[in-house]
């Protein structure tokens, strides 16, 4: 009853083609944006802003990037963290070598660099697919990290290989508190998410989906394979690159190449799977789930200790956490292979009838 599109007539083409055609969806999105932009910075404390919300947004952006490639264009990639690393280190170098450049421009340029790397390592996708491609993208993961560690130029010849991100200053205003960094991240993520949402319902997005569903058939009906696949790699890597730059600038501050290891790639792949393959909303849900899960598990440890009356050894907890994490992923795949986004969709279907069964 609450969520029903009955009575909402579209009398113009523009009305028919808007991003959220149902009024309730538009209200929900506006509410969500108000919460994200106004309530969160005011209500959340520094720990939440800097250690949970900001990384959540950054991971959501990277997940979005991978989702464009894997979920929409159907090309499995295990090199996400490498594209993030390219973004982070190139943003650092642009700021370092060209000090007058506005930071947002260097984020964009860093994203473009990541896109270029993505195109190079996306070339094999024209010949190989499936698991072969997944393993091929591992080449990107290892090669990029190796290059960042061995070639001194990237880290400005720092002995430890660690870079310290410069201060984020836009038009004279310094983004140095957790709240301002959160806001900056939020703005960039929101803009890119809207772009992605629109891109995926455009001709490009439909080409991606055609390639995903059956690339041979897509080629037969006249979709240019090379252009489409490389474009998917480029757009995806651009998103990951910007996420990497934000990872360095608004979240960690100091990063080393090892921070972008294979584990991070897998974590982002999990976010895609758990959130929902081929869903913008799912990217955010998956990122939220994986970011919050360890915190939730840790907070569970204390009550368990109290109930049992003994102190759990720290090694036990960390191992249990890993086990629960793995088990949850298997559980999710079994119960809902289409992820949280699908659950949300089912919930909406239920809401249309609720509270009356007919």
């Amino acid at each position: 009853m609450l969520y029903r599109e009955a009575g909402q007539f579209k009398s113009t083409y523009a009305g028919d083609q808007q991003v959220f055609p149902i009024r309730q969806d538009r209200i929900a999105v506006v509410c969500l944006l108000i919460v994200a932009f106004v309530v969160m910075p005011l209500a959340a404390n520094e720990y939440w802003l800097s250690a949970i919300l900001t990384p959540f947004l950054i991971f959501a952006l990277a997940t979005l990037g991978l989702n464009i490639l894997t979920g929409y264009a159907g090309q499995l990639s295990l090199g996400t963290a490498a594209f993030m690393a390219v973004g982070a280190f190139m943003a650092y170098n642009f700021e370092l070598r060209v000090p007058w450049m506005p930071i947002v421009i260097s984020f964009v340029l860093a994203g473009l660099c990541a896109a270029a790397v993505g195109i190079v390592f996306g070339l094999p996708s024209l010949r190989i697919k499936g698991f072969y491609l997944a393993v091929a993208t591992l080449a990107c993961q290892f090669f990029v990290l190796w290059a960042l560690q061995r070639i001194g130029w990237f880290t400005n010849h720092s002995a430890s290989g660690v870079i310290t991100a410069q201060k984020v200053v836009i038009a004279g205003y310094a983004f140095d508190t957790p709240a301002t960094k959160y806001m900056l991240t939020l703005c960039i993520v929101a803009v890119l998410a809207v772009l992605a949402k629109n891109l995926m319902r455009s001709e490009t997005g439909r080409m991606f989906m055609a390639v995903r569903d059956m690339d041979l058939a897509a080629e037969v009906i006249g979709i240019r394979m090379m252009r489409t696949k490389l474009l998917a790699f480029a757009i995806s890597s651009f998103y990951c690159g910007v996420a990497g730059a934000l990872f360095a600038y608004t979240y960690l501050g100091t990063v080393e190449p090892e921070a972008f290891n294979l584990d991070l790639s897998f974590r982002i792949l999990f976010m895609v799977i758990i959130g929902g393959v081929g869903s913008i909303l799912g990217s955010f849900m998956g990122a939220a789930f994986i970011t919050l899960l360890p915190i939730f598990l840790n907070s569970m440890a204390r009550p368990i200790e109290n109930v049992l009356g003994i102190a759990l050894p720290p090694g036990l907890m960390s191992n249990l956490e890993v086990i629960v994490f793995g088990a949850l992923i298997i559980f999710f795949l079994i119960v809902e292979p289409h992820g949280l986004a699908r659950l949300w969709q089912i919930g909406k279907e239920k809401l249309r009838l609720w509270p009356f069964p007919h």
């Binding site: 010949r127 190989i128 091929a136 190796w146 037969v220 191992n319």
Partner: protein, 299 residues
């Protein structure tokens, strides 16, 4: 160019490649039989080796420990079939792949939960030193242990090849790999087949774990060698046991040669990515790997 040195590097690389092949074999087995790309193979190697070494350290006799570990791997195989694979029948391959990544976490956590996370040494009683007569006659140093590993790998491959080609179960395994539903329709017991293949993969993991453990010690880093097996796999082709061996030899030899001859020019550390780039370059020419099955696609 120093030919003796070149030969020694080449031999060292080939023998290291045999070790990669051992891990790759486990991948191929499961892929051939169930179409699952089992990312957890590395974790299984670690799990098996850690269980075995922890038992022997607690004073269990070598053969008894081997038997117990094998039993554990059988139970593990059946449990994986029951809890992970059975609910995921007929799902897309990518879903199964993701499930095995989850499995990796569970296995690593379980192994360290039971046996602790400190590294262990393992002694199989085969000396890891160059063979006297060979170094004297040809001046090339080859470790006795490496040769032993090569023989073990060769034996395993021979047995597995016969198993797959000639036995009833082997044929059923290949049918299942082709199409779950079709195999079910002609009356192949999917559950048994999967339990069997995961058990066999567990056995291969145990052998690989013992070999690697004796060489490098048993520690968490053992799970990473599974990643080295991946370029071996795509070079050789996912479906081919022979491919795993040949791919392993090529990867092992080329990565050692690259490290020795190219490494000094680019600052070393080539071993971390060279196998992948080599495999990638190779795939551009032959997308299904050396011995992989050529896919024919239709609209």
């Amino acid at each position: 160019m120093n030919w003796q040195f070149f030969l020694e590097v080449l031999m060292g690389g080939l023998l290291a490649g045999v070790m990669y092949s051992l891990v790759a074999l486990g991948f191929v087995l499961i892929y051939k039989a169930s179409g699952v790309f089992n990312f957890a193979q590395g974790a299984m190697v670690f799990f098996a080796a850690l269980t075995f070494v922890s038992l022997t350290e607690r004073g269990v006799n070598f053969w008894l420990a081997l038997a117990i570990t094998l039993a554990v791997m059988v139970v593990l195989g059946i449990a994986i079939e029951r809890l992970v694979l059975r609910p995921l029948v007929n799902q897309p391959q990518i879903t199964l792949f993701m499930a095995t990544i989850g499995l990796t976490f569970v296995l690593e956590g379980l192994a360290q939960l039971f046996w602790g996370s400190q590294p262990h040494g393992l002694e199989l009683g085969i000396p890891d030193e160059p063979m006297q007569w060979l170094s004297e006659s040809t001046n090339i140093n080859i470790s006795q242990f490496d040769l032993f590993a090569a023989v073990v790998a060769g034996l395993l491959v021979a047995v597995l090849a016969i198993f797959f080609q000639t036995t009833r179960i082997g044929r059923a395994l290949r049918a299942v790999a082709d199409d779950h539903q079709a195999a079910l329709a002609v009356g192949i017991p999917l559950r048994q087949i999967w339990a069997i293949v995961w058990t066999v993969a567990g056995f291969v993991a145990l052998v690989a774990g013992l070999m690697w453990g004796a060489r490098n010690g048993i520690q968490y880093a053992l799970t990473f060698i599974a990643l080295k097996a991946l370029p071996v796999l795509i070079l050789g082709g996912f479906e081919s046991v022979a491919g795993a061996i040949v791919g392993g030899l090529i990867i092992g030899a080329s990565e050692k040669l690259a490290e020795v001859y190219l490494g000094p020019y680019v600052g070393g550390g080539l071993e971390s990515w060279f196998p992948y780039v080599l495999a990638l370059a190779f795939l551009l020419v032959r997308p299904e790997g050396l011995f992989g099955e050529k896919r024919i696609e239709r609209v």
